[in-house]
Symmetry: C2
Subunit: 192 residues, 2 copies
DNA sequence: CTTGTATTAAGACCTGCTACTAATTTAACT
DNA sequence: AGTTAAATTAGTAGCAGGTCTTAATACAAG
């Protein structure tokens, strides 16, 4: 790379390491055509830790996030619950979905929040979604806070009809009606 | 930790590092109350790389996986596509959802596969899901291969009705009807 | 021509290893 | 008990990718 000003180099360095934290100083020195020492100085000034720490951070964060994204009981954060009756969950997009590339939150995340809320408010060991009717009203953008409110519409035996409405600043962006079953042992319906 | 047999120790070591790959040899030595060298020998015999490599692997894989789980165009793998008509996607559960704790695949993953397939077969720059009716027929267990087939039922202008059926070994586990819109610029419906 | 910033160099030391050699302990067998 | 094999521990050299410090250059600007 052609010689550029210190400022430019440091800016590029930050970008470079943000998108790929795996570079070692030597490689960076070659990329920017400066000495290793210069890279080290740059890192110091910018407060960028060494490769091994960068990698560790990525591993830790990604590990945690994967766990939370994929294994969390409830997608989003449960802020209020009234068993067998109603519940509210909040999901910060961009915190929970921070690796999303586009600025639009993809539908299955919104679905996941609503669905897991619908299941969570049922007072039983295992609750399974049997079916659902859902509707997306407008796109949700990264950074918007999704507030999902669920309400049990009616209950017949172990079958619940739960209505979920998801809003952004009071504006309805998603609604769904979930038929959820409470079960004790395994029967024939999808756990969610 | 009390002294145990080599076999037991190596077994525990593997488990320990599986759930937390960040331990250094010294820490492991203390945990198992053996010398560092013993830990190194164990790692050798078990083919377990050093901490820094383990961490790097986690970082790389988690990075990739996060990207694929959250930002992939299609959740699952697109194996056949006939634009504006039909498509097939395969999702290996436990490969893509490997941090799942329970043995049951959670519903929003199945939904995500179906929904993204429904969107993918539409021949347009941007396709948005407007609404959906879905049904879960039976739970899907980790390890089962989900084959989703989508078919455009009818098309009116920019509005498509796509039916998706997801099967495991020929058995229907999920079905859904998605109303999808093709759009050029931003209009008012959720991108998925 | 000096002053200040930027860059490069050099050396000691650090962590968490690998690779190798060798000694010591423990358990097993006849 | 005595011998043998397996398991464990110890010790050394060397490596990668650094930190931290001190010092020497380069170079542009007043």
């Amino acid at each position: 790379m052609k010689k550029i000003s210190k400022l430019e180099r440091q800016k590029l360095l930050q970008e470079k390491l943000k998108e790929n934290p795996f570079f070692i100083d030597k490689e960076l020195a070659e990329i920017f055509d400066v000495s290793i020492q210069t890279i080290r100085l740059d890192r110091m000034e910018l407060g960028i830790p060494e490769v091994r720490k960068r990698i560790k951070t990525v591993a830790k964060r990604a590990n945690d996030q994967l766990k939370s994204v994929q294994s969390e009981e409830v997608i989003g954060e449960l802020v209020d619950i009234n068993l067998d009756k109603a519940g509210i969950s909040i999901m910060e997009t961009s915190k929970e979905l921070l690796l999303e590339k586009s600025k639009v939150v993809r539908g299955h995340h919104i679905f996941a929040q609503a669905n897991s809320l619908a299941v969570a408010i049922i007072d039983t060991d295992v609750a399974l979604t049997g079916s659902a009717k859902i509707r997306y009203n407008r796109p949700v953008y990264l950074g918007e806070r999704l507030i999902a409110k669920a309400k049990v519409e009616n209950k017949k035996g172990n079958k619940f009809c739960v209505r979920v409405e998801t809003k952004v600043k009071g504006e309805l962006v998603f609604s769904g009606e979930f038929i959820v079953f409470s079960v004790e042992a395994d029967n024939g319906i999808e756990e969610v």
